[in-house]
C-alpha cells in the first residue's frame, strides 16, 4: 500500500507559515475571472480575484493541485470499477467537476492535531471529494465504499456515511436537510467552550429548499456562530434545475438577507475558493460569526452512480431518464466540462511558476499510481462478518438477533 498523506496534510495545513512573495494576479484574473461576483460587503476591483492565495507556499499550492487530482482519479477509477468490474459493489454520488470547491475550502482549515482544535467538516450524500480534501485515508475509504471490514467505518456505512473524526471529517449524511443544522451545533459548542475552531458544512443547491436551511442561517447569525456554509450550486438537485425550488438566482442572496456575509465564487477555480474560505475562516476564528459561500459549479456525472458514462472517459452524457420536468442538457454538460478544475489549477500553478508542465505531469502520474494502489489495497480487504451488524448500536454490547424468531 503506497500512499503518502503526510506531505499533503502538511501542505493543507492552513496554519503553516506562509512567506512567499506575491504573484502575478491580474494575469490569472483574465483566465478565471469571468464568473466572479460577490454579494458581501467587500467589493473586489474588476478583474481582481482576491489576495490570500498569493502568500501561500509552493508546497501548499502543489498540495492543493494534488488533492484535486486525488479526488478526480479516485472517482474515475471508481466509475471504471462500476462500469467494468461485475464484482465491484461500491457506489458513489460522484463529485468530479466540483473538486476545486472541497479542495479550496479545506486548504483553509485546520485538518490535524488534537480533536479539540481541529476544524470540522460536515458533508453530504456526495462526500468523497470533501473526505479526500479533509485528509482521510484514501485506501481505507476505498475499502469502506466496497463494504470491507477494514474500511474506514468497518463496512457499516459505505458511500453515504463515511466518517473520520480524527481529521475532522465528521462525515457524510445521506439526508437533505439535517447536516447544516447539526454543523451549526458544532459551531455552537466551539463558541460555548471558547475554542477558535470552525465548522464547515458542504451542501448542495437542493438543500436550499429544506426547512433546515432557515434554522441553520437564522441561529448561526443570531448566536454569531463560527459556521461556514458552503453551498455547492451545481444547478441541479436530483432531477430538477434549482430554479424549480429556489426563487433566487444566487442562493447567497437568501443568506445575505439574514445579515450574514456572503461570497459567490467560481467553484471551478481553487484559488478563488481558497481566498473566500480563508476570509471566512479568519472571521469565524476571530468571533465574527458565520459566512455563506456559494460556489458556482457543475457535476460531470449524473446524480448517482455512472449511468451514461463510459469506462476510461470522464463525464456522463445523455438525458437522465428519470428527469421528467427539467432536463440536464448534454450541451450544458459539455460546456461546463470546458472549465475543468484540474486544468484551471494546473494552468494557474504553471502561470505562477510554481510548477512546470513536466512537474505537473509527474504529480498526476504519482496520484494515479497512489489511487491505483489504494484500489488494489481496498478491494483486496476482507468482507464483513454478518453477525457484526448487531454491534455498535450502542457504545457497549450487542443487540439480539431477531430475524430467526
Amino acid at each position: 500500500m503506497t500512499h503518502d498523506l503526510e506531505s499533503s496534510r502538511r501542505a493543507r495545513d492552513a496554519d503553516a507559515p506562509s512567506s512567499e512573495s506575491r504573484r502575478g494576479f491580474l494575469k490569472l484574473a483574465a483566465l478565471t475571472g469571468a464568473m466572479v461576483s460577490t454579494t458581501g460587503t467587500r467589493a473586489l476591483a474588476d478583474g481582481d480575484i482576491g489576495f490570500f492565495a498569493k502568500d501561500l507556499s509552493d508546497e501548499k499550492l502543489t498540495g492543493m493541485y494534488r488533492t484535486i487530482l486525488r479526488i478526480r482519479w479516485h472517482e474515475r477509477t471508481q466509475a471504471d470499477e462500476m462500469l467494468t468490474n461485475p464484482d465491484y459493489r461500491g457506489y458513489n454520488h460522484f463529485y468530479a467537476g466540483q473538486e476545486a470547491v472541497a479542495t479550496g475550502v479545506c486548504a483553509a482549515l485546520r485538518n490535524g492535531g488534537p480533536f479539540d482544535q481541529i476544524d470540522m467538516v460536515y458533508s453530504s450524500h456526495r462526500p468523497s471529494g470533501h473526505a479526500i480534501a479533509k485528509g482521510v485515508d484514501i485506501p481505507k475509504m476505498v475499502a469502506e465504499m466496497d463494504f470491507r471490514s477494514t474500511g474506514m467505518n468497518g463496512g457499516y456505512g459505505a458511500g453515504m456515511h463515511i466518517s473520520d473524526p480524527t481529521v475532522g471529517f465528521i462525515g457524510a449524511d445521506g439526508m437533505i436537510g439535517p447536516a447544516p443544522v447539526i454543523a451549526s451545533g458544532s459551531a455552537f459548542s466551539f463558541r460555548a467552550r471558547g475554542s477558535d475552531q470552525v465548522a464547515v458544512v458542504f451542501a448542495g443547491d437542493g438543500n436550499y429548499a429544506a426547512p433546515h436551511f432557515h434554522s441553520t442561517l437564522n441561529n448561526s447569525k443570531l448566536l454569531d456562530l463560527p459556521l461556514i456554509y458552503v453551498c455547492e450550486n451545481n444547478l441541479y438537485h436530483q432531477y430538477a434545475h434549482y430554479s424549480y425550488s429556489c426563487p433566487h438566482k444566487d442562493i447567497a442572496e437568501a443568506a445575505a438577507a439574514y445579515g450574514i456575509p456572503t461570497e459567490i465564487v467560481d467553484g471551478q477555480d481553487v484559488v478563488q475558493v481558497y481566498n473566500a474560505a480563508k476570509e471566512a475562516v479568519d472571521r469565524a476564528r476571530a468571533g465574527g460569526g458565520p459566512t455563506f459561500i456559494e460556489a458556482k459549479t457543475y457535476r460531470d456525472y449524473n446524480h448517482w452512480g455512472a449511468p451514461g458514462a463510459k469506462a476510461g472517459e470522464l463525464g456522463a452524457f445523455g438525458y437522465d431518464p428519470l428527469a421528467i420536468t427539467s432536463f440536464r442538457p448534454e450541451r450544458e454538460v459539455r460546456a461546463w466540462m470546458q472549465r475543468d478544475p484540474v486544468d484551471i489549477a494546473r494552468k494557474i500553478l504553471i502561470d505562477w511558476g510554481v510548477l512546470d508542465d513536466a512537474g505537473a505531469t509527474t504529480i498526476e502520474e504519482e496520484v494515479k499510481a497512489e489511487i491505483a494502489a489504494a484500489f488494489e489495497w481496498g478491494l483486496s480487504q476482507p468482507l464483513c462478518t454478518p453477525e457484526d451488524g448487531l454491534k455498535h448500536v450502542f457504545a457497549t454490547g450487542t443487540v439480539p438477533a431477531r430475524q430467526f424468531g
Binding site: 459505505a158 453515504m160 456515511h161 437533505i176 426547512p211 420536468t325 462478518t385 430475524q403 430467526f404 424468531g405
Partner: protein, 322 residues
Amino acid sequence: MTQKSWMYSVFEAVQYEMQQDPAMTWIFELTPPVASNPGLPVINLETEFGRKRVVNTGIDENWMVSAVLGAGLAGSKAATYIPYQGALMPFQVIQNVAGKLRHKTGGIAELPVVWVIEMTGQTPGFGQQHSCYEEDSYYMHIPGVRTVIPSTPYDAKGLMHAALRSSDPVVYLYPAGLRTLTEEVPDEPYEVPLDKAAIRQEGSDLTIVSSGAGMPGVLDAVETLTGEGMSVEVIDLRILKEMDTETIVNSVAKTKRLLTVDQSYYTLAPGAEVVARAAENVEGARFKRVAFPDAPPPASPEMFTWMRLSAEGIAGAARDLV
C-alpha cells in the same frame, strides 16, 4: 384484465381519480408521476394534467405533506408521493395536526388527502439512513389517520381508489421493493376496503401475519412449509390502522400458534401489536416474532442480508413454533 406492475396499477388509480375530479392535485419531488406497462399507454400525470395540478417541488417533504393537507381542508382532493428518504420529515404534521383535525373540530374537518410514503426496497448496500422500513410502526400508532400497506398490485390499485375517495386522511405506505411486482389487475376502477386484512391462505397448524414487503418472503416460506406438510394460515394485514383484530383473533383461536413477520425493528414492530391483541383474546396459544433486529440496517451486504427477513428464517421460526 392485463398483467400490470404495482407501480402502473397505482398510477392507473391516481390517473382515473384525477380525470374524475378536476380539482385534484398531485405533488412530487424526485419520483416522476410516470408509469409504463407493456401493451398499455404510458401514464404521465404531469403532461396530462399540467403543472398547476401536478407539481415538481424542492426537497421539503414537510411542505409537500402540509400542502396536501391544506388543499384537502380547502375542499380539494389531494395527494403527494414522498420518497423514502423523506419518509419521516413530515411526521409531526401528520401526527399532531392531521390525525387530530377531525376530532379537534368535533367532526367538522374533512380531509380527502392521501400521502403516499415510500418504504425502501431492502437493497443491500444502501445502509442505515436510506432504509426506512421502520416507518410502519410510527404511522400505525397515530389515531385519526388510516394507514394502509398494500402488498400486491391488485390491492395497491384498489386501496388507492379507496384512499382517494375517503374523507379521512390516509398514509399509503408504498414498499418500493414491490414496484415491479406484476399480476392481473382489472382495467376499471374498484375499491379494496380500508379496514380488512386479507387471508392469503387458509390453514390450521399455524397463523403467520405479515404485511407489505414482508409478504413475498412469507409466501415463499409457506410454500416450503406446505411442502413439508404444515397447514399454514397466512394473513396479510393490509391495513395497519384500524387493524382488523377479528381476522387475527379468529385465526389464532383456530391454530393456537401465531408467528408475526416484520421488516421493521423488533421492538414495537406491527407484530408486537398483532401478538398483543391475540394474546389478550386467545388463551393457551404460543407466539413468536421474526423481525429486523433493534439495530440500524448496516451497509455491508454480508451483515445486511443476514439481518433482514429471509424465507429460511421465517420457515425456521415456524417449525420451532409448531
